[in-house]
């Protein structure tokens, strides 16, 4: 039986996947072909969406079409499905081999968390079960005591993938040891970092692995109730979770005496209202309890006093998704990957000025250069690599000079950045590092809950200083003022948001100090990015007098007759850059 799979995660939908899906359905109906059409999740190659995979035809193996649009559907159906002739022009993979397209995107990847993403239909429990689904929990229930489960997880070396990097085994152990009969599991699916979408893809592509991970954790600590705190901005993920939970309840996988054991387990979904700080565990708990999402003092830690005052274990989506694999494959299979203190794999969301943006799961210990060049295919538009920004708004920038750094929790922390949840933004020579720091600080400043003085007002003041620097009003001493305030904010804030918010500023000021100095002293932006610091002029040698720039200029600041060298009146120029973009001869100079 032929099978057509179409990636309908958010990335696929955003690329027009639904229209392609409808078109295929229409074609199948019109041509009355006997073929199974399936949805699947994201396989990580977001840069190639819409992806359509055809398999089970007379030709062995599967064939992957990339960047499929509705108008390509007719030909694929007719030639590939009906005539068994794959459309060579659009294929990126055929017969299990990469074909005609030198994409080694998957070469250095190792897929554990994403093992089912893009492979199975996330709406089908059966497909999950067919891929060893719910075997891990049954194995735990039948073969291991909770303590043994904790031992396996501890031994695997799994650390919290939400960014904290705390030992998952130890966290479970503390929750197990906490006094009390009522305990909770919380899955933190409040993925809020700009540019990060690991958890979304996992929930969209393989919700059951997360739910199964939660079951194992619940068994291990002795919880009988769980919450998934998911962003309301992830409607597809929330829908899939809800439907999956309903199906599990129907099958008796959730509820009383699951899998015939003595264990009871219920899972609820709580949709977050969009506050970034609710990703912080104590704020998240407050939010589930119906309170304002504001971090509270620790200790007591959630493991002692969490949701409704009961011992609570919180892990992130990716952490839970690792768990069933570890149980089934053993701790050693997991801890054989990675570095001394960071084991297993990590999913990164590649974004920015990189050729292949998307999701990549790589073993710990891979270098930054390998990710950027080998997995990500290098920098777009032949620009020079400048730095990577890791760890979202709480993270920092690592310059290209440190490209051989092995990715590992502790190595990255040493640079001033953090592993974070896995956002990895690649920056090229056109990125202004001051502006970048301003961007991230603006984010955290807006997302501060407003409780702590330093975070609430301090980040605002830092942002104001950055703003004045980028418009050429920076003063001598501003860098020192920024650094002083940054350290105080880090030292005197209650939660991770405040404690890390200054990181983008601190790392850029550390590795790219001269860029700050140029803005302040020379009133120049070396990356030619900050509009207020730019001057546009015309290179007389290159100008052909085509008048295009003058016609584009919205304020008539460019003068010059046809076929004569043009000139820009800098007094009139509003630095919009339209002329620079318009010139086909590189005659407009930005400085």
């Amino acid at each position: 039986m032929k099978e057509i799979k179409i990636g309908l995660a958010t990335c696929g939908i955003a690329a027009g996947g639904e229209a392609v899906f409808n078109e295929i359905k229409k074609e199948i109906n019109e041509n009355k072909i006997d073929v199974v059409l399936k949805e699947t999740g994201c396989m990580g190659m977001c840069y190639q969406e819409v992806l359509v995979e055809v398999s089970g035809s007379e030709i062995p193996g599967s064939f992957m079409y990339s960047r499929v649009t509705p108008d390509k559907v007719k030909r694929i159906i007719r030639e590939h499905i009906m005539e068994n002739k794959p459309v060579q022009d659009w294929l990126i993979k055929g017969n299990g081999e990469f074909h005609g397209f030198s994409d080694n995107f998957f070469e250095k990847q190792k897929r554990i968390v994403l093992r089912n993403c893009g492979v199975i239909d996330p709406d089908s429990i059966d497909e999950y079960i067919a891929n060893d689904g719910y075997k891990a929990i049954q194995k735990c229930l039948n073969e291991y005591t909770p303590e043994q489960v904790i031992e396996i997880i501890s031994k695997s070396g799994l650390r919290g993938r939400g960014g904290g990097g705390f030992s998952t085994g130890l966290k479970w152990k503390l929750a197990r040891q906490a006094a009390g009969t009522k305990k909770y599991i919380i899955c933190n699916a409040d993925e809020g970092d700009p540019g990060a979408f690991m958890d979304r893809s996992t929930l969209e592509g393989d919700p059951h692995s997360v739910l199964e991970g939660m079951m194992v954790a619940a068994y291990a600590i002795g919880a009988d109730e769980a919450y998934v705190y998911a962003r309301a901005e992830y409607p597809l993920a929330v829908r899939r979770l809800k439907e999956s939970i309903e199906k599990l309840e129907k099958r008796g996988f959730l509820g009383q005496n699951i899998f015939g054991s003595r264990m009871n387990f219920l899972v609820h979904i709580k949709e977050g209202a969009g506050a970034f700080v609710c990703g912080e565990e104590t704020a998240l708990i407050g939010s589930i309890e119906g309170k304002r999402g504001v971090p509270r003092v620790r200790p007591p830690f959630p493991a002692q006093k969490g949701l409704w005052g009961k011992p609570t274990n919180i892990n992130n989506v990716e952490t839970f998704a690792n768990v069933p694999w570890i149980i089934l494959n053993g701790a050693d299979a997991f801890n054989s990957m990675g570095t001394e203190k960071s084991k297993g794999t990590k999913v990164f969301a590649l974004a920015g000025k990189i050729m292949r943006s998307g999701l990549a799961e790589v073993p710990m210990g891979i270098t930054i250069n390998e990710i950027v060049y080998d997995v990500g295919g290098g920098i777009k538009n032949n620009k020079a690599f400048k730095a990577v920004q890791m760890g979202g708004p709480s993270g920092g920038c690592i310059p290209k000079e440190m490209g051989n750094l092995k990715i590992d929790y502790d190595e990255i922390t040493r640079t001033g950045a953090i592993m974070g949840s896995g956002g990895l933004i690649v920056l090229d020579e056109t990125t202004c590092m001051v502006d970048l720091a301003k961007f991230f600080l603006n984010f955290t400043q807006n997302e501060s809950c407003g409780k702590c003085t330093f975070c609430r007002i301090g980040t605002k003041r830092m942002l104001e200083i950055l703003e004045r620097i980028t418009i050429g009003e920076g003063k001598d001493g501003d860098i020192e003022l920024l650094e002083d305030l940054a350290l105080k904010i880090k030292a005197s804030s209650l939660c991770g948001l405040g404690q890390t918010a200054p990181n983008p500023v601190l790392t850029t000021a550390k590795y790219f100090r001269s860029e700050y100095e140029s803005h302040i002293r020379d009133k120049k932006c070396p990356a030619h990015h900050c509009p207020a610091l730019l001057t546009y002029s015309i290179d007389a040698e290159k100008c052909t007098g085509c008048t295009l720039c003058a016609r584009k200029c919205p304020v008539n600041a460019i003068t010059g007759a046809k076929k004569e060298v043009h000139a820009i009146d800098t007094a009139k120029c509003i630095k919009c850059g339209l002329c620079f973009d318009a010139c086909r001869f590189g005659a407009v100079v930005k400085d």
């Binding site: 506050a275 003092v297 400043q445 407003g450 330093f454 301090g458 605002k460 005197s492």
Partner: protein
């Protein structure tokens, strides 16, 4: 609790695990860690980060308020890093604190006169107080009120709306009122130190005044014949009449200042000679009296040319005669003064020549306008170039040049430059050069071999600006001599500063720089715009009446008249009250001072909000909010009301009610506990006054006069008639009510300020109208009427009533007067007449019907049972204490109440019994306890036990459940919680509440407690707290203001006690003390003369039935009540804050109160009773209320044991307690108070169970 050891600042400390660092540091008094968000009564929060400390081995600083100690922790609470972080935290907070600490008016005044403060006082009609406030900074308000340049008005924000507040006119208004008597503060004891003030101008006079107040002996040396300096010799009479100035000068010198006029320093003596003459310090304030030259040729030697200041200097002695045309050169106030004076001296035409334009003119615009109104012509952009004179050197005119203005540097006035060839001639007869003055440095001449003070190169005296010291030790200088010609108010400011510096110097031998306090100002953030002030309507400034122009140009009469009374009341309403009412209580400002804050580093965007004044009692100014959340947390954690919360996130987040609704539309109960918890001025009480200044307040603690809980309240007193309740002091947090109050306690006491009080006794005349009479006459008349009624109907026809809000002393005297004076037992209160039914319910068990345990028993109780009443409305603080017990100790709260009230939300078990069925429920519990044998076995042999058993047997659980209409489950749970004889159970019962009562509830509770051995046992921790509506309901009974008992609950059968008390009073009480039903006597019309103290029964019309037989009615009250309106004689009463006394709270705590404000009536309340008693042959010659208190200690047996001495409560106030049988638990160090043994014996004989069935 496990003890652990930590090290703080190098010192090893042992403390209980679970405590926070801040608690340990403060408990051990190791350091004062600053904090804004911490309040020990609510959960630690950790938001302000002012309390950060360093823990060894930790990179971050931690908030000490929410970090628990851990074994071996090494903590530092003060070092460079910590101070730095705290300072930054404050700077950040203040960079987003769009608010004014003080009014810009005050800040801009060189003498820092509290303009907003005196405007506020004037608005309240407190003219004396306003003047007293002014005189704290400025001793010359009469003169300055006329001539000040008004820097205050220049800064006044009102200008943004229309015109500045006429601050100076208001000052003149109160100064004019004061002119007759010249209020003077008390002078300090003479110090024996002598100060020489050289120069008798405003600066010298000011220094002399404040130095004299400090007890120093001052001598003023003045070169000219009269004191006053430029006020005398520079300001013309039509602006400042010499008589007014002299009056003010004479007042100052009259305080004991020696004056030597015509004594010129540098000529008659020198500085050093003063020290030889025995002066300890010198203040040099010689002024700047030398006219600057115009620098034109022949200026010096032409007849008709003179200096402006020289011209004006003649005025005090004579009015020079001028004629023809006078030209005055200059643009300052002296030029205007010279010009207007020239006109009054007979000049035909006066012109002013000024080289710049009107915009640059330094003279006060009002003066310029006045001159123009008087037809004085001003030639702008004109400058004299030369003099035209005849051969006799007599002036004929001047040659002038036209000028042009060219822009100068930033902040500078434009520069005038001559226009080439614009010369023109102006004929004139006199030329007055008023372009400025200089210091005449002749003063510095040295007569004998001694040194002179250092001068600046331009001739002024050089001083250290921080200390006012010159180059010679002990010599200080100020005024124009230091600043060059400046304003009078500036000289006054310097004089005051110099006086302070000299005082310091004389006391300590040196002067220290005083730190400038931190002030936040809105205009430092951004320009204050009209939009922000748009809610203020425009109102025109009240103008002074002036002498008509025609009249004034020919005389030197004062041109401006002062304000009328109406104007003085209208003008203060224009004040925008910029300065913060919490100025003196703001923690944020206090810390800012401590850390020497500079907010300029972090200036940026600020939040701006409209002030919300919609709530009747609470003003919210979110601009001042620092997000500490203390209000939010108090409202949710303590009150469980949650009317306030945070809105928005991040920088924009701020405390407001949800959805930004007005507070009034939330479920706010107006308890105001948020206001007390606000460390800044973001939440303040809405004052009933017109304007509130930044006035200092005094904290005085007393006891609330509303309900019977006896909460500590703190009065913040600004003035005898301006005060409010604010429980924000630290001490109160340790009181029984932990500082918390209900709406009545906090805002209710306002009636003491607002109400129109009775001031004089009133007597009804023949027409039925009232007329004011003297006290003696009213007392005589009352005594006569009562005597004639006794003569006619006998002593039983008189009754004396007192209020349960009166003090124990008043009540004691009241019943003593009745029994020993009037010889009748008719003493009581409408409180017992109306509520009396249950008031003996527990007598048969314990001898009285009052609480058997203290409020503290809540702290140990396992179960609290609230039977009837609505605590939230009636006794809120009791509710808060129960919530605290639930939270801290897991105490279970059972609520027996038919209706849903606020407490049902937090009750652990709400028995929603049908109204009136509680007795049935309780009786069925008694049956259960007897059946299961869960009672005190000793009780089985007590008389009445069998009857009780029989009675209770009728109340089966099924019947009880049906009667109460509750679920079996609830019933069973209630049984389960209270059946265990080992549990500490406290019942709470409001005897005055009208809700849900069934008549025998109290007896049933008594039965249950007695049966289970929970009554009368010292350590049981179980019992009942009986609440009531009035502050001294318990004292009323204890003092014997009831026909039922003599003081100390002495009953009819206690013959020995009756005899003992009678002996103490000198009467035989046996025939007098005959208990009777007062209500019955009133209703039957047997009472003919009724004396009512502090009660208003006729405010309920139907109570008129009690007044049937009344032929004579006397009432004493604060205000003209409904009852007083019917009286024959009305006496004014003093309020409880005007006199000392003791009050007995619901649980027997006796708390002393002191006088808080001065007496508003002629005598304290007890003196009326004493006055009446004297007429009936009962002398009450107590020297004070304290003596009455002593007598109570001797007479009232329940006060025995307290006679030995006073005991102190948690906040250090005298307190002791009656009733409680469990004193050792309550206050271990206090002696346990028992009734005398004989009393217990009698009780036991009388003890029997009362059959308590459902009636």
């Amino acid at each position: 609790m496990k003890q652990i050891t930590i090290t703080i600042n190098g010192k090893e400390i042992t403390a209980a695990e679970g405590k926070t660092i801040l608690e340990v540091v403060h408990e051990n008094k190791l350091d004062k860690i600053p904090t804004l968000c911490y309040d020990g009564r609510i959960e630690p929060y950790g938001s302000c980060f002012l309390c950060v400390v360093e823990i060894q081995g930790m990179n971050r600083l931690v908030a000490s308020c929410c970090t628990p100690i851990a074994q071996g922790m090494v903590i530092f609470t003060d070092n460079e890093k910590i101070r730095n972080s705290r300072k930054t935290a404050l700077e950040l907070l203040l960079s987003n604190h769009y608010a004014d600490c003080i009014g810009p008016c005050i800040n801009n005044c060189p003498a820092n006169v509290d303009a907003q403060g005196y405007i506020a006082l004037i608005s309240m009609g407190k003219y004396d107080e306003a003047l007293q406030l002014i005189k704290k900074q400025n001793p010359l308000p009469l003169s300055i009120g006329r001539v000040c340049v008004r820097d205050c008005e220049v800064a006044c924000r009102r200008q943004i709306i229309d015109e500045s507040v006429a601050i100076n006119h208001l000052k003149r208004y109160v100064a004019d009122i004061d002119a007759g008597h010249h209020w003077t503060p008390e002078l300090k004891k003479p110090t024996g130190k002598k100060i020489a003030v050289v120069g008798g101008g405003p600066s010298g006079l000011t220094c002399a005044y404040y130095s004299t107040l400090e007890g120093h002996k001052v001598t003023i040396f003045e070169k000219l014949p009269r004191l006053g300096g430029m006020l005398m010799y520079g300001i013309p009479e039509y602006r400042l009449p010499k008589a007014v100035l002299d009056d003010e000068i004479n007042w100052i010198t009259g305080l004991g200042v020696d004056v030597k006029t015509n004594a010129a320093v540098g000529k008659d003596f020198d500085i050093q000679s003063l020290f030889k003459d025995g002066f300890d310090a010198v203040y040099l304030a010689v002024g700047a009296h030398k006219a600057s030259t115009m620098r034109i040729e022949h200026e010096e030697d032409t007849v008709g040319v003179m200096g402006g200041i020289d011209f004006l200097r003649q005025l005090p002695e004579k009015h020079p005669k001028l004629e023809g045309t006078v030209i005055v050169v200059g643009g300052g106030n002296t030029a205007i003064d010279a010009a207007r004076t020239a006109l009054r001296c007979g000049a035909d035409k006066v012109r002013i020549v000024y080289r710049r334009s009107i915009n640059e003119m330094p003279a006060h615009p009002e003066e310029v306008h006045a001159a123009q109104a008087e037809n004085i012509e001003i030639l702008f952009l004109t400058n004299p170039k030369g003099i035209v004179r005849d051969e006799n050197k007599k002036l004929k005119g001047i040659v002038c040049l036209k000028m042009e203005l060219v822009a100068a540097g930033p902040g500078e006035r434009p520069k005038p430059v001559p226009k080439e060839g614009s010369d023109f001639e102006l004929p004139c007869d006199f030329l007055i050069g008023a372009i400025g003055q200089q210091v005449d440095t002749d003063f510095n001449k040295v007569i004998s071999a001694s040194t002179s003070v250092d001068l600046e190169k331009w001739g002024t005296v050089k001083i250290n600006n921080d200390t006012m010291e010159t180059s010679i030790q002990g010599v200080f200088a100020g005024g124009d001599a230091v600043t060059g010609p400046d304003t009078a108010i500036n000289s006054i400011g310097q004089g005051k500063r110099a006086a302070r510096a000299i005082d310091f110097y004389l006391k300590y031998g040196k002067v220290e720089k005083s730190l400038k306090p931190f002030y936040s100002f809105k205009h430092k953030f951004s320009e204050v715009t009209q939009v922000e002030l748009s809610h203020f309507p425009k109102t025109e400034r009240n103008r002074l009446k002036e002498l008509p122009v025609a009249q004034r140009v020919s005389t030197f009469d004062e041109v401006e008249f002062g304000y009328s009374g109406e104007q003085a009341q209208a003008e203060p309403k224009r004040c925008l009250e910029c300065g913060c009412s919490e100025y003196y209580d703001c923690d944020l400002r206090r810390h800012a001072d401590d850390f020497n804050i500079d907010i300029s580093t972090y200036m940026g965007e600020t939040r701006k909000y409209k002030v919300d004044t919609r709530h009747p009692f609470i003003v919210m100014d979110p601009n001042k909010c620092i997000n500490c959340g203390r209000c939010v947390r108090t409202c949710s954690e303590i009150l469980k009301v949650s009317a306030l919360g945070f809105v928005y996130r991040g920088f924009k987040s701020v405390v407001k009610p949800a959805m930004e609704k007005p507070l009034l539309e939330t479920n706010c109960i107006a308890c105001g506990n948020c206001v007390d918890n606000c460390p800044t001025g973001a939440l303040t009480e809405k004052f009933p006054f017109k304007v509130l200044g930044t006035l200092p307040k005094q904290n005085i603690e007393t006891v609330c006069n509303f309900c019977s809980i006896g909460c500590k309240v703190n009065f913040k007193v600004i003035d005898d008639n301006i005060f409010f309740v604010s429980n924000s002091t630290e001490e109160l947090k340790n009181s029984l009510n932990r500082g918390y109050l209900c709406v009545k306690g906090r805002f209710g006491h306002r009636y003491l300020m607002d109400s129109p009080r009775l001031k004089q006794p009133l007597m009804k005349d023949s027409t039925g109208g009232f007329k004011e009479v003297g006290w003696d006459k009213a007392i005589d008349h009352t005594a006569e009427r009562v005597k004639s009624i006794i003569a006619k109907y006998g002593p039983q026809s008189v009754a004396v009533f007192g209020s349960p809000r009166m003090s124990n002393e008043e009540l004691y005297l009241l019943q003593k007067f009745t029994r020993a004076g009037l010889k009748t037992n008719n003493t009581g209160s409408f409180y017992n007449v109306l509520y009396g039914k249950q008031q003996d319910s527990l007598d048969s068990f314990i001898g009285y019907t009052a609480s058997t345990v203290s409020m503290d028993s809540l702290r140990t109780a396992d179960v609290v049972v609230v039977v009837n009443g609505n605590l939230s409305e009636e006794n809120l603080v009791m509710e808060l204490n129960i919530k605290e017990a639930q939270k801290k100790n897991g105490t279970k709260l059972i609520l027996l109440n038919s209706s849903e009230i606020i407490l049902t939300k937090t009750a652990d078990l709400w028995i929603d019994s049908r109204k009136g069925s509680n007795t049935v429920l309780l009786n069925s519990i008694i049956r259960h306890v007897i059946e299961k044998g869960l009672f005190d076995k000793d009780q089985a042999s007590t008389p009445g036990f069998e009857e009780l058993k029989q009675m209770a047997a009728e109340y089966t659980p099924e019947e009880a459940i049906e009667a109460a209409d509750i679920s079996t489950e609830k019933y069973n749970r209630m049984l389960e919680w209270i059946e265990n004889p080992d549990r500490k159970i406290v019942f709470i019962y409001n005897i005055d509440s009208v809700r849900d009562k069934s008549p025998n509830d109290l007896k049933a509770i008594g039965n249950f407690l007695q049966l289970t051995g929970r009554l009368g046992k010292n350590d049981s921790g179980s019992g009942i707290i009986i609440l009531s509506e009035y502050a001294n309901s318990a004292g009323l009974m204890d003092m014997g203001v009831t026909p039922r008992y003599l003081p100390g609950y002495v009953k009819e059968f206690e013959k020995d006690e009756i005899k003992r008390i009678g002996n103490a009073w000198g009467v035989d009480l046996t025939p007098i003390f005959q208990p009777a039903d007062l209500a019955d006597r009133l209703l039957k019309g047997e009472i003919k003369a009724l004396l009512i103290f502090g009660e208003d029964p006729l405010n309920v019309t139907e109570h008129v039935r009690y007044f049937k037989g009344i032929e004579f009615l006397m009432v004493q009250d604060l205000v003209q009540t409904d009852t007083a309106a019917e009286a024959d004689v009305v006496f004014p009463a003093a309020s409880f804050i005007e006199q000392a006394g003791t009050y007995t709270a619901c649980d027997g705590r006796i708390q002393e109160t002191e006088r808080i404000v001065s007496l508003k009536v002629d005598r304290e309340n007890w003196k009326l009773i004493a006055g009446l008693a004297a007429k009936f042959g009962l002398p009450m010659d107590y020297a004070s209320i304290e003596q009455v208190n002593q007598e109570i200690r001797n007479v009232n047996r329940s006060w025995n044991g307290s006679a030995a001495g006073k005991n102190l409560n948690e906040t250090g106030k005298p307190q002791f307690s009656v009733y409680s049988t469990d004193m050792s638990v309550y206050q271990p160090e206090m002696p346990v108070i028992h009734y005398p043994d004989s009393y217990f014996k009698l009780l036991q004989e009388d003890l029997k169970y009362r059959s308590a069935g459902s009636e």
